[in-house]
């Protein structure tokens, strides 16, 4: 890492990279999501058939990933807003980042059972 930089290679840069990557991922998901929801205008069968794939174990893992992306983007987005609008925001940006990471970890642990529980039951029997 080049010396004497306050930004490059440090937390602030990596949180920006993660914010950008998650934002782009969510956008692509949303595009597909509106398409699959549009199937309710085709027929109940067509819709139910596609939603059935949402309930498979592999897609459940993708959903867990989506939740991870949304939660990080949302929490870090609030941090960015605080840095921009709260007078002490820039001074506490690092503490706020670690708060974001902490809250994110807790929520991700909480989401484990609700999001992945059915996949585990399907794979290993109830």
């Amino acid at each position: 890492m080049p010396a004497g930089t306050l930004y490059r290679g440090r937390e602030g840069m990596w949180s920006w990279v993660a914010h950008r990557v998650t934002g782009v991922l969510i956008f692509f998901f949303l595009f597909v999501h509106v398409l699959d929801t549009a199937l309710v205008r085709v027929s109940p069968e067509a819709y139910d058939e596609v939603v059935a794939t949402y309930k498979t174990p592999i897609v459940a893992l993708l959903e867990y990933g989506l939740v991870a992306a949304i939660l990080f983007h949302a929490l870090n987005g609030l941090r960015v807003i605080a840095v921009d609008f709260w007078s002490k925001g820039p001074r506490y940006q690092k503490q706020m980042l670690w708060t974001v990471v902490g809250v994110w970890v807790v929520l991700m642990v909480g989401a484990l059972y609700p999001v992945l529980g059915h996949a585990v039951r399907e794979l290993f029997g109830s």
């Binding site: 949303l30 595009f31 819709y47 949402y54 949304i70 949302a74 609030l78 807003i81 989401a111």
Partner: protein, 160 residues
């Protein structure tokens, strides 16, 4: 350095009195990039500033809209397992959730599209590449917003 050189210098001797005072003020130096009568009118308006503000305002609203949506769809009442045509019919029977989904659709799409516009501006350097990527982005965005809106407004629980 003697005191006999240039009398009227802006820089006084370090510990001496300033050449200027209230009755004899220093000449005004204009701030750099200050807008004057000679500055050409900006042709861009405040679009970028509005976009910047929109990202923040929509972000705050989206936290509530999207996280509640995920809670309803993935966590409460059996998680994904309950989702199906009948479930959607039940939800869109209520104008409240119709408006909720409509707002979420428009805000998330516009927020995401504007975010992607920034990303394209950052990485696509050739003017032609930028033009095509943005054309694709705007087409996909308008299409998705219109389709999603149409689906909410024309939903028919008795399609069969």
């Amino acid at each position: 350095m003697s005191d006999t050189t240039l009398e009227k210098s802006g820089v006084g001797p370090v510990e001496g009195a300033s050449l200027y005072d209230a009755d004899n003020p220093a000449p005004v130096i204009e701030a750099p990039r200050k807008r004057t009568a000679k500055t050409p009118r900006s042709t861009r308006g405040n679009f970028e500033m509005a976009a910047w503000l929109f990202m923040r305002l929509s972000g705050v609203v989206l936290v509530v809209l999207v996280i509640t949506h995920l809670l309803i769809q993935l966590v409460l009442d059996g998680g994904v397992s309950k989702i199906g045509f009948a479930f959607v019919a039940g939800r869109w029977a209520s104008p409240f959730w119709q408006v909720w989904d409509l707002l979420m659709l428009w805000l998330a799409m516009l927020h995401g599209a504007n975010g992607l516009r920034t990303v394209i501006n950052d990485y696509a350097e050739r003017p032609n590449t930028r033009l095509w990527l943005k054309g694709l982005l705007y087409t996909a965005t308008v299409f998705t917003i219109l389709l999603g809106t149409l689906v909410i407004f024309t939903f028919d629980p008795n399609i069969r």
